[in-house]
């Protein structure tokens, strides 16, 4: 999510709480690996979602396997990253619809797992030209 200096109308030092915007959604996507993440980024940019937070992540099964190996322990020397990434963004419903159309055209095994939620308030995110929060 993009950040910028607060506009003057918010005043000095005031932490802005944006008005409830029924048109906005919280978008959460999980790409399984680097190969799946690359076209997802392209899709996000194509539909105009230009601000998002990307987090490295691991599935629960990967964590359980690492936690309790039985026959193989050397894998503990490798970096913990599995290549999976979580993308979080606040965006508009129409962009999410456009993203859905893009994802439908992606190869099935590369499609991310995802969910959207209605957003009641937005904290710390100012409308900036060219971002999804505009």
């Amino acid at each position: 999510m993009d950040k910028a200096d607060p506009p003057a109308e918010y005043g000095d030092g005031a932490y802005p709480v944006g008005p409830a915007r029924s048109a906005h959604r919280l978008l959460i996507l999980i790409a399984r690996n680097d190969e799946a993440f690359d076209p997802l980024v392209t899709g996000l940019l194509d539909v105009g979602i230009t601000g998002a937070t990307v987090l490295d992540s691991r599935g629960l099964n990967a964590l359980l396997r690492d936690e309790m190996p039985i026959f193989a322990g050397l894998a503990s020397l490798l970096p913990r990253s599995t290549g999976a990434k979580v993308v979080v963004s606040i965006t508009t419903a129409d962009r999410i619809e456009a993203l859905g159309r893009f994802l439908a055209q992606m190869r099935e095994d590369l499609r991310p797992i995802g969910a959207t939620l209605p957003v009641e308030h937005v904290f710390g995110l100012w409308p900036v030209a060219g971002t999804e929060a505009r």
Partner: protein
């Protein structure tokens, strides 16, 4: 194997049903170990220790085996032997797949030093044991194999760290314990191959000369290499399609276990050679394959534990108890000192998470898998070694909580 074949004299209809029931029980219990409920239960510290040692499954194996309900007898065991070979080959593949160049390069010198100390100590113990037993037992071709099976109880340790109270994360103690356990597993599988190569000369076995075994081993390794290269091509083609990946994987395992069986080689060695080759081929990552293979780990461990229980028949209880006591004493008194010596100043860092004084470092489940493969291949006194490992594993479970508690209350020297 010949000992197990003695009872074989034509299966009846009832025998067939006994095989089906026995296999259904093993597959059922193995499937249960893959459920989320099982994963949840194993997150409990005490249960992680108890279930990780496999005692419930070993008890089940004893119950359905020749010593219990006799659902599985010597003949049934031979009929179900392909299932055991498949499981052992799969385990070998798991061990081999971790041997990527990047992983080998990342092994810290402390782990190499610890393994070197551990292997030397185990070799010394095995040599003394072999010489003592050879003076006592006149003519036994199985003796080197029985000693090798017992040596697995002295080498390495279990990679499970949750019972020490270590949680998820990148703690240095956890990495050290798991990496050392992984490398010790590889050393153990190689030790079996060496025992296979050396045994005919040591025992003066005229039936299988050293050259014959060496040629068989070379042929088996070549077959593993060829299978790995072929599998790699197929796996790249079916990448991202898990059902197809599973089909290729099962085909590879079936082929390799057949090769190991025909050439009288350890399925663990052939599986590991194939896995290491696949892991080091150039090309795209085999994450799907690794996930598919690793996901089956608890089920394979369950099969090994049940197999251990079934094979605990016709053992010499007295010798098994003596060997088990030696294993426990080594793990309680000698091994922690060896680890501290190998680690040097770095021991203090590990010590903060796992106390290295007087703690029973439990034996690796892989030692049971290796011993099972030796029993299936050579029989004889190896069964007594397997019993010793099972008893030592149980003792480790009983002693670990007490020794950890004692170590935490003792002031550091």
């Amino acid at each position: 194997m010949s000992a197990l074949l003695v009872a074989a004299s034509g299966p009846s209809f009832t025998d067939h049903w006994r095989v089906i029931i026995a296999v259904a029980i093993v597959v059922g219990v193995a499937t249960l170990s893959l459920t989320h409920t099982s994963s949840r239960i194993r997150r409990h510290r005490a249960l992680a220790l108890f279930l990780g040692s496999g005692w419930i499954a070993i008890a089940l194996g004893v119950a359905i085996g020749p010593s219990g309900l006799r659902l599985i007898d010597a003949r049934t065991l031979m009929d179900a032997r392909p299932l055991a070979m498949l499981a052992l080959t799969w385990i070998g593949l798991i061990v081999g797949l971790q041997l990527r160049r990047a992983v080998i390069a990342a092994i810290p010198s402390a782990v190499w030093r610890t393994i070197a100390f551990d292997v030397l100590a185990t070799m010394a113990i095995a040599t003394v044991g072999w010489l003592a037993l050879r003076a006592w037992i006149d003519d036994a071709r199985w003796l080197p194999f029985a000693v090798t099976a017992a040596a697995g109880g002295f080498l390495g340790w279990s990679p499970e760290t949750r019972s020490f109270g270590l949680r998820s994360g990148n703690g240095s103690a956890r990495t050290f314990v798991q990496a050392t356990a992984g490398l010790a597993g590889v050393a153990l599988i190689l030790a079996v191959a060496f025992a296979d190569l050396l045994a005919p000369t040591i025992e003066g076995d005229g039936l299988r000369s050293q050259g014959f075994v060496a040629a068989g081993t070379a042929l088996g390794l070549l077959a593993a290499l060829g299978t790995a290269l072929g599998a790699r091509v197929l796996l790249v083609r079916v990448q991202r399609h898990q059902p197809e990946t599973l089909v290729v994987l099962l085909g590879v395992i079936a082929l390799l276990s057949g090769v190991a069986d025909r050439l009288d080689l350890s399925p663990l060695l052939i599986g590991a050679a194939c896995g290491a080759t696949i892991a080091n081929c150039h090309g795209p990552s085999m994450r799907d394959l690794e996930t598919t293979i690793a996901r089956a780990e608890p089920a394979l461990a369950t099969v090994v534990f049940v197999m251990t229980g079934v094979l605990l028949h016709g053992t010499h209880v007295g010798i098994a108890l003596v060997v088990a006591a030696a294993i426990v004493a080594h793990r309680l008194l000698v091994k922690p000192a060896l680890v501290r010596a190998a680690l040097g100043p770095a021991a203090a860092e590990i010590d903060r998470e796992i106390p290295l004084r007087g703690v029973t470092l439990r034996e690796a489940p892989l030692a049971l898998a290796v011993a099972c493969s030796i029993v299936l291949e050579h029989g004889g006194g190896s069964t007594t070694s397997l019993a010793a490992l099972a008893i030592a594993a149980a003792a480790g479970v009983i002693l670990l909580p007490a020794t950890v508690r004692a170590a935490h209350t003792e002031p550091a020297p």
